[in-house]
């Protein structure tokens, strides 16, 4: 959006390691789930994060809502370092950043009624909405996600997957958040229901002026909802670009391969497939080469010995690949 404005959410050199192997061994190996990730999200925009499973998308989202403690690096919300905040300040920030999880079946407590579920955040944060009672606010939220007041007394098992995801969205909205982190919110839903939830998310964004970080592995969903797209591979962001640009001018070989593997949109379309050989390599231990080096068709000596950094090529279009460094 505007460049002189400071970003609402900024991730700087974020690294998250998970120790693996024997708890008592001297040299515990580290799995680098996120390796030096930097990302800026401005107010009101939607940044989509895409990548294969195991690339660190979910770890990133969990770090942002402080479900994981970053190993190094920092996350700024409104220019305030989240990890340095404590007590009241921390609670205030967690109120502003809310999350919607992937599986609508396991993210709602089966023993709680919808009224309890939607009003639980009020109790936790001791928050009363201005000018209305908590119940009224809950009803209003349910209505804005397409449910009604008579649903309040029901239990989660009485709802379908799409409706449960709506309840999750209502729950995330109770505290008037500024940022919503959506971790694959539609991947567990059917196509016809998926479209309903996507439409709802867009409607709510305009209504409440929300900022989204939207995580998905479905390229068409990401393309549909995002303003900017970050492509992740093995804990790295390899390309960051405007949503339309990534489809018309993908630069990183991984992005190109990802795009070419989308199923065709009609039976008449014959696609040239750019194939990446082999499986994902393991990300145990620090890697000092380009993460794609073993699968990349353009791999050179330099890629094997040095890690490319995310560098701007054109405005906010950034790519981490040596191929584009000369120009």
């Amino acid at each position: 959006m505007t460049d002189n404005q400071s970003p609402l959410l900024e991730v700087k050199n974020l690294t998250k390691c998970f120790p693996i192997g024997n708890r008592y061994s001297f040299q515990r190996k580290q799995l680098y789930a996120l390796d030096d990730v930097s990302l800026k999200v401005y107010k009101g925009e939607t940044v989509g994060v895409i990548g294969e499973s195991g690339c660190g998308k979910s770890t990133l989202s969990r770090c942002l809502v402080s479900l994981h403690k970053p190993t190094s690096g920092s996350i700024y919300f409104n220019n305030k370092d989240i990890s340095k905040c404590t007590g009241k300040e921390k609670k205030e920030i967690s109120r502003k950043i809310q999350m919607i999880f992937q599986d609508p079946y396991s993210s709602l407590d089966p023993k709680m009624r919808i009224s309890q579920l939607v009003m639980e955040p009020f109790t936790i944060h001791n928050f009363t909405p201005e000018g209305q009672s908590r119940v009224d606010r809950a009803i209003e939220l349910l209505q804005s996600v397409g449910l009604d007041r008579y649903h309040l007394q029901r239990y989660p098992h009485e709802f379908s997957g799409g409706q449960r995801q709506r309840i999750n969205i209502a729950r995330a909205l109770t505290l008037n958040p500024e940022v919503l982190i959506c971790d694959e919110p539609v991947s567990a839903l059917d196509v016809s229901i998926q479209a309903q939830v996507l439409n709802l998310l867009i409607k709510l964004q305009q209504e409440f002026n929300l900022t989204y970080l939207f995580i998905s592995h479905d390229l068409s969903v990401i393309r549909y909802i995002s303003d900017y797209i970050a492509v992740m591979y093995l804990g790295h962001i390899v390309e960051f670009c405007e949503a339309s640009g990534i489809y018309t001018r993908p630069l990183h070989p991984y992005t190109q391969a990802l795009l070419s593997s989308i199923p065709p949109s009609s039976p008449f379309e014959k696609k040239e497939r750019l194939e990446l050989k082999g499986d994902l390599v393991s990300h145990i231990g620090k890697v000092n080469c380009c993460p794609l080096a073993s699968r990349c068709p353009h791999c050179t000596e330099r890629c094997k010995n040095e890690k490319p950094k995310l560098k701007p090529v054109d405005g906010r279009h950034e790519v981490a690949c040596f191929l584009y460094e000369q120009s």
Binding site: E52, S53, S160, G162, Q163, D190, V191, S192, I193, Q194, A195, Q196, L198, N199, I202, H217, D218, L219, S220, V221, R223, Y224, I225, S226, A243, S244, Y247, A257, L258, S260, S261, I262, P263, P264, S265, S266, P267, F268, E269, R273, E275, L276, G278, D279, L280
Partner: protein
């Protein structure tokens, strides 16, 4: 006329539950020829998986029963086979690939043991020759370093690898028909593209027929010859893929195709959706199952069930307003009177 490999006629599979009879598959008829790829699409709960399990009588639940209809595979009536004969049929003539690659394989046995066991169950073969064939099959499905993988446990392999092992097991006995129940749903796009390409290659090599069940229309466009759209236990439309893509007839098919976000859509324009949710399969009665979500529904949809009619060559639709003479146009008001 080509030889029919699989013929299904009026198949009905019901689940008898405490709260009523769920008609999971309600009168499905279709046939497949040798070397054909048929796609079955529909939302979850529309009976796709139950239908495919009914073909080789793999209904796990005691309450699920095939109440009516015949399944003829290669000239034999599957419903008349004994348990022993069924065992022979499954795995050798008809192979199945399931959705979740990580749970298809038994976690406590090595890949080698599982593959050899399956080969020895069908053929009188010694372990050594069996192992050789298995490794060859693993190489066929594009697993790098098949010798090493042959000797590993399923948890040592990634999801895509496990699915390749499952496919390798499926093709070991050179089946005539592979039933693939959402084979790529649990996988990433890059892996999905590789697996689909692999299935297509194997089909060309061995002339196998593939029945692929999916909810992803893109997958259908990519590999299928013919496609069948299911809704609430019934087939609502059946056609050649190209015909279905360029000339879809059933309102549900329209909704399904429109609700998929496509790369060519303008971002953030509201997607067209199908309002409401699929009906409870225990409560569906007479009439068209889709009527509650259909904007073109009239009184006749409430009263009588639409029959499958051929609107043009090989294109069948079950809608009151679609036939050779009457025509309902998408987006226009329904002027046909019920």
């Amino acid at each position: 006329m080509e030889e029919k490999l699989l013929e299904i006629n009026g198949l009905r599979t019901y689940f008898f539950t405490k709260s009523g009879v769920a008609k999971a598959v309600d009168g499905v008829s279709f046939d497949m020829t040798q070397g054909e790829t048929l796609g079955v699409v529909g939302e979850s709960g529309c009976g796709k998986s139950v239908m495919s399990a009914s073909i080789i009588r793999l209904l796990a639940s005691k309450s699920g029963k095939i109440v009516d209809g015949t399944v003829t595979f290669n000239g034999t009536d599957v419903s008349k086979l004994s348990r022993e004969e069924l065992r022979k049929l499954r795995g050798s003539d008809v192979a199945m690939i399931f959705q979740d690659p990580m749970t298809t394989l038994d976690p406590v046995f090595k890949v080698s043991d599982q593959m050899i066991e399956m080969l020895q169950a069908h053929r009188n073969i010694d372990r050594k020759t069996a192992a050789k064939e298995c490794i060859q099959a693993l190489a066929d499905v594009g697993i790098p370093d098949p010798h090493k993988r042959f000797d590993s446990y399923p948890f040592e392999l990634s999801g895509g690898m496990c699915q390749r092992v499952a496919i390798a097991m499926a093709i070991l006995a050179r089946p005539k028909l592979i039933i693939a129940d959402e084979p790529t749903t649990a996988l990433d796009v890059t892996m999905q593209a590789q697996i689909l390409k692999l299935l297509k290659e194997l089909q060309e090599k061995y002339g196998t027929s593939i029945l692929i069940i999916t909810h992803n229309l893109g997958v259908v466009w990519q590999i299928c010859d013919n496609v069948m759209v299911m809704y609430a236990g019934k087939v609502v439309e059946k056609a050649n893929v190209r015909e279905l893509y360029s000339n879809p007839k059933h309102p549900y098919t329209w909704g399904l195709m429109d609700s998929m976000p496509s790369l060519n859509d303008t971002p953030k324009e509201p997607l067209s959706t199908i309002d409401g949710i699929p009906p409870d399969l225990r409560l569906v009665g007479k009439g068209c199952n889709f009527r509650a979500r259909c904007r073109y529904a009239k009184q006749c949809c409430e009263d009588t069930e639409p029959e499958m009619v051929e609107v043009c060559d090989g294109h069948f639709v079950a809608c009151h307003f679609q036939s050779r003479t009457t025509n309902l146009v998408k987006g226009e008001e329904n002027r046909n009177d019920g």
